[in-house]
Symmetry: C2
Subunit: 160 residues, 2 copies
C-alpha cells in the first residue's frame, strides 16, 4: 500500500480537517465585520428570531455564565438587546437590534459566499451529493441551526 497521505483520506480526517477549514473561513469573515466567531454565531442564530437565554445556551452548548458574557459584550457593541419576557419576569429574550440585523445579514451573506466557494472543484452533481450526505449526518446528529439555510437566511437578511 502506498504512503497513507498518497491515498484518499478517510472519513474521520476528512470531517476534522473540513471542520478546521470552515472554522478558519468563518473566523476570517467574522473578523472583517468586527465580530468574533462566537459573536458571529450568536448573530446567525438570532437571525431567525429572538431566543431566550436557556434556548440559546442549549443551541450553542455554552455554560450559562459564558452566554451571559457573550450577550453582554454583543449588547455593548449595539448588535443585540435583551427584552423582558412578559410571561416570566425571570427570563429575557435576546433579539437583534437594527444595526445587529444589518451586520448579521452582511456577515451571513459574505460567509455564505465564501463557504460556497470551498467545494469549488466539485461539479454540481458532486456538490449535491456532498450536501445530501453531510446533511444527513447533521440531521441524524440533531445539530442545532447555528447557520441558516441560504433560503432562510436570505429572506431574513432581506427583511430589513
Amino acid at each position: 500500500m502506498g504512503k497513507p497521505d498518497d491515498g484518499p483520506i478517510g472519513i474521520v480526517a476528512a470531517l476534522v480537517r473540513s471542520s478546521f477549514l470552515v472554522n478558519a473561513v468563518y473566523a476570517k469573515s467574522a473578523r472583517e465585520y468586527g465580530l468574533t466567531p462566537q459573536q458571529g454565531q450568536l448573530l446567525c442564530v438570532l437571525m431567525a428570531r429572538p431566543h431566550g437565554m436557556s434556548e440559546l445556551g442549549a443551541m450553542l452548548s455554552l455554560a450559562k455564565s459564558s452566554l451571559t458574557g457573550l450577550v453582554d459584550r454583543t449588547e455593548r457593541n449595539g448588535l443585540v438587546r435583551r427584552e423582558p419576557d412578559p410571561q416570566d419576569t425571570r427570563a429575557v429574550w435576546v433579539a437583534l437590534t437594527a444595526q445587529g440585523s444589518k451586520v448579521a445579514g452582511e456577515f451571513y451573506t459574505e460567509t455564505c459566499r465564501r463557504i460556497e466557494e470551498l467545494p469549488g472543484s466539485l461539479n454540481p452533481a458532486e456538490r449535491d451529493t456532498l450536501a445530501a450526505l453531510l446533511g444527513r449526518v447533521v440531521l441524524d446528529n440533531e445539530v442545532p441551526a447555528v447557520f441558516l439555510e441560504p433560503d432562510e437566511g436570505g429572506s431574513a437578511a432581506r427583511e430589513r
Copy 2:
C-alpha cells in the same frame, strides 16, 4: 416550495453545521483527557513528528504570540517540550514528551472513534463517497494535517 427546513439542506449550511458538530465532539473528547481543544489540536499535529514554531504557527493559523502561549501552557502540563535547534540557535523544535505521546495517542484514538460514529446512518458506499468528496474539498483548499489519517495516527499512537 415547502418550508426550507423540510427539504435537504444546502452545501453551505451542511458544511457549517457539520463543523459545529465536529467541534463539539472534539471539545468534549479533549476535555475528558484534561485538554482544551487547542491543546488537543497541538498534540495531534505533533503526533506525526516534532515541528518548529514557525511551521506550527502556519499550520494552526495562529499569531506567533498565541502559539508561544499555547506551547507554554502545554509544556507546563508536561505534554510537550521545547528543544533547541542545533542548526539555528534562534529556533526551537516542539516535541511530545513521553506523557504527551501517551495522552495524544489516547485522545486521538478516542476522538477518531467518536468522529467515526457521526456518519453512522450512512451505508459504507455513502461513507466512502462522503470521504472522497470532503477529502477533495480539503485537498483543494490545502488544509493542513491538523488531524492524522487513522493509518498514520494509529501507527504513531502505537509507536510508544
